[in-house]
């Protein structure tokens, strides 16, 4: 195939390249470098957008099978009934307007040595640097009886796809009679969005409180502790007294088997919980394409360089988003956004024969707990001096303070909405 520079790049290139006229080899490399991005979510859309905004000499192609992206964040508000799925659905026209070539196809295989990617539709794309942001795979069968067919009865709602899983869970909540039990199965770490299951419990509770107040939530957890735990449990006691039972792993909370037809969640020690609606969030790994390309280790996730996010197992491929091993950082949309920018800046530097820039990563994760009630966890992270690991900056970050702070809770709920609008603009506009 031919690689035509987007028009915007042709206009910008002479200006940007002017200081480099003395080095024609470098100039040629700069104006023809191909950045291929696989995956159009928080990592990939950010990468493509950031590359065109900040490194307009890059020829950027984005491969994403879906024509619309439904965000995981704010999916729990669709369950609560306070957002519609259309409000969390985004298209790729903004990226096209920035000069990104958007290809709606499946990337079916990566040849890291030849720097080539095969698409299911038959096309082969070559690249100078690849940003791979493929997301997660659900490990079907890790919970006995929980496969793709079972997820049509007991939705996971953790990989929204076109939104069908989120809408299925919403419909089941709507159809459930008052007095029913909503059961959740929550996995061990690491998994996508550590506070997500607990925001979900809160948002389901807010719906039940308004419409089905005699109903209960039974949260069966493989863990003994969870993100923002004190804040969530304070809010549950205040807003939804008696409605939520959370069962930790050491009190037989780990779900090991399901019977989808009977809507039964069975735990490690054989307790069978029959529920009216079951939301099973199964154990996860990096998406299949990362595993098949040999980018993952025995953990099922992709080890990366803490500064460039380049794969430790295959050169030329930067793995961003939930598929990688991000050290102490959570698998969150904000971390995907932040690390994608560093990965692109590093890829651009390496293409110019330069050292990747100093890295600093940010995380901001809000959770809605009730109407006008938001809480957060934030973090600032850096690679260590040796470049071998990532560490949180001491004395920074952390969760919202506990206690009776109604103004803070109201403000954080508003800031969460602003966060959503801001980060999705940064990705798609």
């Amino acid at each position: 195939m031919t690689h035509l520079l987007p028009r915007r790049a042709l206009l910008a290139a002479p200006l940007l390249a002017a200081p480099l006229l003395a080095a024609p080899g470098t100039l040629r490399a700069q104006t023809q470098a191909r950045l291929l991005v696989i995956g159009g979510g928080f990592g990939g859309a950010t990468a493509a957008n950031f590359a065109r905004r900040n490194h307009p000499w890059l020829d950027v192609t984005l491969v994403e099978p879906k024509r619309h992206f439904v965000t995981c964040p704010y999916g729990n508000l669709v369950l609560a009934g306070t957002r519609q799925i259309g409000q969390i659905t985004h298209g790729y026209d903004g990226l096209r307007a920035r000069g990104v070539r958007v290809v709606h196809d499946w990337a079916s295989g990566i040849d890291a040595a030849a720097r080539r990617v095969r698409l299911a539709g038959g096309e082969t794309l070559t690249y100078d640097r690849l940003i791979l942001s493929p997301g997660i795979a659900l490990r079907w069968g890790a919970i006995e009886g929980y496969d793709e067919a079972a997820s049509e009865i007991m939705p996971h709602g953790w990989v929204p796809g076109e939104g069908a899983q989120t809408l299925l869970l919403r419909r089941q909540l709507e159809e459930m009679p008052d007095g029913g039990v909503v059961g959740l199965a929550i996995p061990a770490n690491p998994f996508r969005c550590p506070p997500g299951p607990y925001e979900r419990i809160s948002m389901i509770a807010s719906y039940l409180k308004r419409h089905k107040p005699r109903s209960k939530i039974l949260a069966l957890d493989a863990k003994e502790a969870f993100s923002k735990q004190g804040l969530f449990q304070d809010a549950w006691a205040q807003l939804y007294p008696g409605m939520i039972e959370w069962v930790p792993g050491n009190r037989d909370g780990r779900v090991t088997r399901v019977d989808a037809r009977e809507r039964v969640l069975e735990t490690e020690f054989g307790t069978r919980h029959r529920v009216a609606v079951a939301n099973v969030i199964p154990p996860q790994s990096a998406a299949r394409i990362a595993i098949e390309a040999g980018l993952t280790d025995q953990s099922g996730w992709a080890p990366v360089n803490p500064r460039s996010f380049e794969s430790r197992l295959a050169p030329g491929i930067h793995v961003v988003g939930d598929a990688n091993i991000p050290g102490p950082m959570p698998k969150s949309g904000y971390v995907a956004n932040s690390t994608a920018k560093q990965a692109v800046a590093s890829a651009a530097a390496l293409l110019r024969g330069e050292t990747p820039p100093e890295a600093v990563y940010f995380n901001t994760c809000y959770s809605h707990v009730g109407e006008d009630y938001g809480i957060s966890i934030v973090g600032v992270f850096r690679p260590n001096a040796e470049g071998t690991a990532i560490a949180e900056v001491p004395n920074s970050g952390g969760v919202s303070p506990r206690g009776n702070l109604p103004e803070n809770r109201r403000l954080e709920a508003l800031h969460a909405d602003a966060w959503y609008d801001s980060i999705t603009k940064d990705m798609f506009a």
Binding site: S338, Q342, V360, S376, E412, L414, D417
Partner: protein
């Protein structure tokens, strides 16, 4: 937390403007909107006075300024990053 001496920061601020947002400034954009223009309940930081932005970040670091999340975030920045970030957003259109 030790505040940044005003004289020292003035010296840094006199340095030539960067062409792009420093990566530390990218950390703000996820909530403050593209280019820091502000969005919804989150105030704009674009086009604000550089020294004011530096002073506010230092006040957040020292817990001297009421905050929801900014105190926790500001304590993660280095002094040089605060200056570079303030310099960048001061140059953005409001």
């Amino acid at each position: 937390m030790r505040p940044i001496p005003i004289l020292l920061s003035s010296l840094f601020l006199a340095m030539p403007a960067w062409a792009q947002a420093p990566l530390a400034a990218q950390g703000c954009i996820g909530c403050h909107g593209p280019n820091g223009a502000g969005i919804g309940s989150v105030p704009g930081i674009a086009g604000r006075d550089r020294a004011e932005l530096v002073a506010q970040m230092n006040a957040f670091r020292a817990n001297e300024r009421p905050a929801t999340i900014m105190g926790r975030i500001a304590r993660g920045y280095t002094e040089a990053e605060i200056i570079a970030t303030a310099e960048y957003f001061a140059r953005q259109p409001r």
